[in-house]
Each structure stands twice: as C-alpha cells, then as structure tokens.
Amino acid sequence: MLRRYIIRRSIAALITLFGVSVLIFFLARVMPGDPAMIALGETATLEQIANYRERLGLNEPLLVQYVVYITSVIHGDLGDSLYTHGAVLDDLAHTFPATLELILFSTVLMITIGIPLGVLAGRFRDGFIDNFTRVFSLLGVVTPSFVWALFLMLVFAFYLDVLPAQGRLSEGVEPPAFVTGLYLVDSIVAGDWATFRDASAHIVMPGTALAMASVGQTTRMTRANVGESFDKTYIEFARAYGFKGFRTAAVYALRPALIPVLTIMGLDIAIKFGSAFLVETVFSWPGMARYGVQVILFKDLNAIVGTVTIIGFFFIVINLIVDIVVSFVDPRIRLGALAQ
C-alpha cells in the first residue's frame, strides 16, 4: 500500500517539476525585452545581436528552444551566467549550501520553539502563557522578515554589539574543510570549535529573522490543534488511566496535532526561500537567494532560470518527503488518496 502511494506521489511530483520548467522557461522568453539585447547591452550593434541570437538558438521556434533547454538541464548544464561569467550550475553549487544552512537552522528554531510553545499555550488556554504566546506569534507572522532582520541588526549588532552583522564568518577565519557545505556541520566534523563558534554567531540573526514567521505560524497551529485534541475522549481516557499531565500533553495530544504542522513545514519551504531573498540581502549572506537578487537586477536570464529551477526542485522534493512521512504517521491519508 505504502509503496503504491509513494510511486503515485513521485509521478505527480515529476509532472509538477516538468511544469515548473515550462513555466520558468516561457516566462523568461516571452517577457518583453530581447534576451540578446539584455545580454549585450544597449550599445551592441545589430550584427552582434544577430550573431548572438544565432549562437544561442534564439531564432528557433520556442518549442525547439525548450527541448534544447530541457535536454541540457537534464545533462546538468544550466548555461553560463552573464553576471559572474561562470557556469550557472557552479554558481548555484557554491551558493546553495549557505542558503540551505540558513533554512535548516530556521526550521530547527521553528520546531524547537514553535511546537513546545504551542503545546504549552494549548494546555493552559487563556492563561498568562497563552496570552504571551498569542502576541509573540502574531508579531512573528505580521512583521516582514526584512524588518525583523534590520531590527535584530540594530539591537544586537549596533547597540549591544554582541553579534556580527555581515556574512557567514569573520574576516580571517577560514571556512572548514568541505563536507556538506554547511559551516556549522563541517566545523563540528573537523573538530574546529573556534570556527563553529564564529559560524554560530553569524547565523543567529539571519536564522532568527527568517524563522520568526514560521515560528509564529507553528505555535498558532500547534496551539489550536493541541487545544482541540485536549477535548477528545482519548485524552480523558488517558487521564482516567492516571497518566500525568506531561505525558498526556506530549504523547497523546501532540501526535495528532503534529500532522498539520508537518504539512505546513513542507509548504513553508517556499515562503522561506522567498524571505531568504530579503534576509540574505540584509546580512550579506553569500547564499543562493542573494545571488538570485543580484542576477535579477542584472537581468541575467540563464542564472534566473537556474535559480528558480533549483528552488522549485527543492520545494517539490521536500513536499514529496513530507507527504510520505505524513502518510506514514496517518494511514488515513494514503488510504484516502488511493481510494480516490
């Protein structure tokens, strides 16, 4: 059963991925503005533009161009960047780990802060903790990530001067030997605690700014769901059996409440990628999102298409994994999907 469900979901994910590539490709081609003119600048002669179009195959019908494009993507070639003059895939490979580290860090915050806060608030509804949590999570959701970023920077980097405001590492600190590309992980692997401390100090602010919205969302959702499941008969049953408060809260009320949170985590990845465009810009975080902003401002079509393809790919894969995990936790979902 589970295997059939996974196969079905994987096929759907592949189709979506194909759709994303079509969307991005045609968006980049159909937009007003000749890609050749954009690439060569406004001073280019007509002859240069004609040569460039010929070389890149821009005179072929769109469908042919798409087939050429998708074939090269499958072979791992995303073209060259006008902005860095390197291969787009190399640029993305260099910048992706920084963004991934930021997103993973903020996801960890989202889970370790959001879920416990939500359980507490749901357990002690309308008490002090609940009211505090409500305001805290609301502020998290409604404040734009770049405002959080600037606010944290103002307080912790400028007034208190306890955290660095820019980049992933201080000047003069060498990045740890490449294992995963995530400095926090790699420095632990290398046993280099000085670098680990430095990298941690750098990631705290951007990670928090990126996490605030999802921490708020997770807290609200967990609170609502845990609150609901506290009214269910199986909680009463557990209490009647003499299980203590913590166990009923953590085990019986939390498990059904986690399923929507898991689903949200998958969808949240897209929002985090979007917010990363702002947060990385504020903190000069050398990740893929900042690269994305730069290539958009530079009108670097290959790099834009490449960046979006990677984001879409990542989103689809994460959601595939989330769906499978959720169906593992809640068999009703995979049975329902198969019955359809």
């Binding site: 609301l138 958009i296 979006v308």
Partner: protein, 284 residues
C-alpha cells in the same frame, strides 16, 4: 447572509466579544482613513514627491518632524502616510485581479472534475512550487519596476491560492442536498454554480481576502525593499526602509517608523481576518 453575519446584531456581537478582532478593526479603519486622507492630514503633503530640503536632511524625530526626515530632508511621517495610499491601492487592485482569476477555474474544477480538474490543479501545483515573491521579483526585474508592473506581477502569481480554496470548497458542496435538489429539478450547471455554490463560498473568500490584504502589502513592501517595486520619488514603505538600512545605525528612524507603518497595516488585516475566520467558522 454575509451582511446578516456582520450587521445583524448577533454577528457583530460575536465579533466584538473578541477584543483582538476589535483592535484589528480599529487598525484597519485607521489605515484606510490615513491612506484616503493623507493629502489633508499630513503636515507636509508636498514631501510625498520629489521635494528637496537639504538644510533639514537626516533629522532625528523632533516636534517639527515626528518621525524624522530622510536623506533629502522630507518628512518621514508624511511619506509613511502617502506610502499607505500606495499600499492600499496596490493590494486592492491585486486582489481585484487575482480573485476572479482564481475563483472561476477553482469552481469549475471542483464542480466538473475530470480532465479539467486534473489540468487546473496541476497548473496550480506548478505555480505554488515557486514562491510568489520570487516570481514577482523576476517579472518586475525583467519588465522594469513601476507600480503597474508590480501589481500585475503579484496578481499573476496570486490567483492559484484562490483556485485551490474554491476547488476544495466546491468539491465538498457539490454533494450537499440542496445542490442535488437543484439538479433534480433540472437547474442548469450555470445556475447551480452561481446561485447555489458560489454564495456559500463567500465566507471563506471574504476571510481569505482580508488575510491576503496583509500578505499582499508584505510582498509589495518586499519588492520595494529590494528596489524592484514602485519607483522613486513615489513614497513606498519598503523602499523607505531600504533607504534607511544603508545608513544604519545612524538613520534608525527610517526603518523603525516605516517598519512600524507596515506592521500596523498588516497586523490590522490579520486580526480582522482571524476574527472573521472564527465568526464565520471557515477554513482558509
């Protein structure tokens, strides 16, 4: 039915019992009033456009300039209020485009099912796989930044949320007794969709639109912050924050007050949306 929920005593009573919702409503009304009345209630309405007064540039907040002044001596308070006009106009137009664009395919997909459902919902999945902020950034980046382009770009990537919402509701509603009854007496599909199903989607739609007002304002401010929104000298909250961010910590008042400005608007719509969700008992 909606009017009843609001203006009929019980709906309003229920809504007003929640102090947070009331506070949100107060913020929303203030936001709209400030936006509409900006030319008359701001101390320096001429500062909304390309006004220059270097003698008073970079002033911290004072009695004369409540929120301080910017790089070229314009009153930040006046510009925040004029920024509200832009935010309000932008978010209303975005929703006016995105909602019908999303509602119609969603209704049809939920009601008819079949290949139309498959195609529509696959397209929705594709659009939702890439953050709408990123897509809007790209479109504006390629076409050029202006208020119109920002609005069109956001709207073009916002409709799938409404398609998904309407699809889910319609799929449930089409099995309701009154829909079957209408089918039995020979009502046309068109009649059923418009007269039976759509009115019952309104509570969810209204709640979603209220919440989305805040998210559209956020996305628009994000575009402005990255320099891809409305062009200078038009006052836009995101670009005002970006201007101050380049001179931190010296010019703290620009990001702080423009940031608070965004916060108030977003918070208001969010609280009212939450209140509506509880009142109308819908999921969005």
């Amino acid at each position: 039915m909606i009017a009843g929920a609001f203006f009929g005593g019980r709906g309003w009573y229920k809504f007003s019992r929640n102090r947070l919702s009331l506070f949100g409503l107060f913020l929303v009304i203030s936001f709209i009033l400030m936006a509409l009345l900006a030319p008359w209630i701001t101390p320096y309405p001429q500062h909304a456009e390309s006004f220059i007064d270097f003698a008073n540039a970079n002033q911290p907040p004072s009695a004369k300039y409540m929120f301080g002044t910017d790089l070229i001596g314009r009153d930040v308070f006046s510009r925040v209020l004029f920024g509200y006009r832009i935010s309000l106009r932008l978010s209303i137009i975005v929703l006016a485009i995105a909602v019908p664009l999303g509602v119609i395919p969603g209704l049809l997909a939920g009601y008819y099912g079949g290949w139309w459902e498959t195609i529509t919902m696959r397209i929705v999945d594709v659009f939702l796989a890439v953050p709408s902020l990123v897509m809007a950034l790209i479109v504006v980046g390629l076409v050029g930044s202006s208020l119109t382009n920002a609005m069109l770009a956001i709207a073009f990537f916002w409709w799938p949320w409404y398609t998904r919402l309407l699809y889910n509701i319609t799929r449930q509603l089409k099995n309701e007794g009154y829909v079957t009854a209408a089918q039995v007496v020979g009502a046309s599909h068109w009649h059923i969709l418009i007269k039976e199903i759509l009115p019952n989607c309104v509570p969810s739609l209204l709640t979603k639109m209220t919440l989305d007002m805040s998210f559209v304002i956020l996305v628009a401010a994000s575009l402005g912050f990255l320099g891809l929104g409305v062009r200078a000298p038009t006052p836009e909250l995101g670009s005002m924050i970006a201007e101050g961010a380049n001179y931190l910590p010296a010019m703290w008042w620009l990001p702080v007050f423009a940031g608070l400005g965004i916060l108030i608007a977003v918070l208001g719509f969010n609280l009212v949306g939450d209140g509506l969700r509880d009142l109308l008992d819908v999921e969005v």
